[in-house]
């Protein structure tokens, strides 16, 4: 009897969890498939009466109602992808190589340098926002992919390094020692023995870094004044800020921005959870 009652309590709890986590996304999807008049009907429709994709066509500039209201969402998708992927690749390479040296190799100032890198984990956006704007302006890197990728990379590196450091620490040293005894150099051991073993850790780091890049807002807002580099987040907030754009269209753009993270979460959530846990062990 008691067991049964506990089951019910948990069942209701899980239903609340799912409603809380999914309803806002469902509601955006629902709205994005409606006409504007249906979206404004009262009481609200919890399903679209007839599916139609005109909102999606409009934001990508296809079909009749485009041009005037479309916010360059197509270009923004390209920008977001280039910037997030670029930052992910750069961050991953630098973090993996650096973390291995910190985790396994001996050198002078190792401890001090390691803590300097870790300390930057606690730096909030405030600490760097205005100077980074000034530095990039000075270097002529405002409104460029390179500028944004460099800034993202510097921001993501401490966490990526920390996750990879913990992943390397979790490997038994004996494997590397055996390789060294067999005559492998440090680099050979790293490349052909260690790297294959930390592939799951690298996947976790890459996924988390990509998601961070995809969600960036304040830096690209400040560092890009034209839509040549503006990512989806900036384009979406500009679209929502113009009060003439109907909510159905804004929600369609939001769903476009949600699609990629949603696919990643659904298929790769194991690595995300591993990465979050590895990134928090203190």
């Amino acid at each position: 009897m008691r067991r049964n009652r506990f089951g019910w309590v948990r069942f209701i709890g899980i239903v609340i969890l799912l409603l809380w986590s999914l309803f806002p996304v469902y509601w955006a999807l629902n709205t994005s498939l409606m006409t504007n008049s249906e979206a404004q009907s009262s009481p609200p429709h919890f399903f679209p009466t007839h599916f139609q994709f005109s909102n999606y066509e409009a934001i990508f500039g296809i079909g009749p109602s485009s041009a005037s209201t479309a916010g360059g969402i197509g270009r923004a998708v390209v920008n977001s992808s280039v910037e997030s992927l670029g930052a992910t690749v750069l961050t991953l390479v630098i973090a993996v190589v650096g973390a291995y040296a910190f985790a396994r190799l001996r050198f002078r100032f190792r401890g001090a340098l390691f803590y300097v890198v870790l300390a930057t984990l606690t730096l909030p956006v405030y600490a760097t926002l205005i100077p980074i704007y000034e530095i990039l302006t000075h270097l002529g890197l405002v409104n460029t992919y390179i500028g944004i990728i460099l800034v993202y990379t510097s921001g993501f590196l401490p966490l990526a390094m920390w996750i990879m450091y913990n992943m390397f620490q979790a490997l038994p040293v004996s494997i590397e020692e055996a390789a060294t005894i067999d005559g492998a150099s440090t680099l050979q051991t790293f490349r052909s023995i260690v790297l294959p073993l930390v592939r799951p850790g690298m996947a976790a780091t890459a996924i988390i870094t990509f998601l961070f890049g995809w969600g960036q807002f304040i830096f690209p807002l400040v560092l890009g004044s034209t839509n040549s580099t503006q990512p989806l987040t900036v384009a979406l907030s500009a679209l929502a800020g113009r009060h003439v754009v109907p909510y159905t269209m804004i929600n369609a753009a939001a769903i476009v921005a949600i699609a990629i993270p949603a696919v990643i979460v659904f298929f790769m959530n194991r690595w995300i959870v591993d990465g979050i846990v590895a990134g928090s062990v203190k």
């Binding site: 986590s21 996304v25 955006a28 404004q40 405030y126 304040i218 400040v222 900036v234 979460v265």
Partner: protein, 309 residues
């Protein structure tokens, strides 16, 4: 939790190597160099500039720049909009930390034991964490819409409210609560994952031993579970604290430039990039940076106690 095992006579600093060539000595430095260059150039150097800039008069509309001592801080603190944003940020922190850690712990307890479909529930729970803050602001602003929002229509037909409400925009605490809720939606999965990982690391025998001693239900949670997940809770609190001190995206979208619910970050952005007063922007940035670091350290001190099992 961690123990260092060291045999007597064994050197502390790792294994001994025979002879190291010059290349071997240089290798570690080459491996960490890119990392250090990036962090030096785009994290540490900017931070130094912020600390310095806070004491320099730097206003694009009133040149030239000159050292001003505490001048920027004085003008920042005498600015009523800044003071409002400080107060608002206090509320964001309280709502953000309490709600995300509370809800996250609740979710973690729900997912603690295995059941069919648990993996899928976990994946779906993580979704809001992975979405951009701006996107969340946008989809929630439609839910909270004063004329067509589903929250208004649902609450009205349920009889909770008699007329449609403007959830965000007029009333300070109410606006902050709802904007904070959107951020809580984003960061709760993080707290839940941290607590869940700690819960699953608790050895099952501990529960059995406590049950044998007659503990059950709430006592079990309070005496066994809670002390052992304390470090995870501490990290969740710090994460929530840092996130809510830095809240920007959700406020930018939902508050749309009004001062009602402005945060420290939106106010900094306003000062630096709309008023073009970098000096005051730097002063506020420095305050926020120091506050973030000090509060994180304090929270860790207060809640983090070593746990042995």
């Amino acid at each position: 939790m961690s123990a260092i095992f060291r045999r007597p006579g064994q050197p502390v600093a790792g294994r001994r190597r025979p002879m190291r060539s010059r290349r071997d000595i240089a290798l570690p430095y080459a491996m960490v160099a890119p990392l250090l260059v990036f962090i030096g150039a785009l994290a540490l150097y900017p931070t130094v500039l912020t600390a310095y800039g806070a004491f320099v008069h730097n206003d694009a509309l009133d040149p030239p720049n000159h050292f001003t001592g505490l001048g920027n801080f004085q003008s920042v603190f005498s600015n009523p909009q800044v003071r409002q944003s400080l107060e608002n940020t206090g509320l964001y922190v309280v709502f953000g930390v309490v709600l995300s850690v509370g809800l996250g712990t609740f979710f973690a307890l729900l997912l603690q034991r295995r059941f069919r479909g648990r993996g899928i529930v976990l994946a779906l729970m993580v979704l809001p964490w992975a979405l951009p803050g701006v996107v969340e602001g946008v989809i929630w602003s439609w839910i909270l819409d004063p004329t067509f929002g589903v929250l208004n229509s649902t609450l009205k037909s349920a009889g909770v409210i008699s007329q449609y409400q403007l959830w965000v925009g007029t009333h300070q605490v109410e606006s902050i609560f709802f904007i904070s809720l959107v951020q809580v939606w984003q960061i709760t999965p993080l707290a839940a994952i941290l607590v869940l990982a700690a819960l699953q690391a608790i050895p099952h025998e501990l529960y059995e031993a406590a049950s044998v001693d007659g503990a059950k239900g709430w006592t079990l949670i309070r005496r066994v579970t809670l002390p052992l997940v304390r470090p995870a809770l501490a990290i969740a609190v710090v994460e929530g604290l840092v996130m809510s001190l830095n809240i920007f995206d959700q406020v930018y979208v939902l508050n749309a430039g009004a001062t009602t619910a402005s945060s420290l970050m939106t106010e900094t952005y306003e000062l630096a990039f709309n008023n073009l007063n970098f000096g005051q922007g730097y002063a506020l940035s420095l305050l926020a940076t120091v506050t973030t670091i000090v509060l994180s350290l304090l929270a860790v001190r207060i809640i983090y106690r070593k746990v042995e099992f």
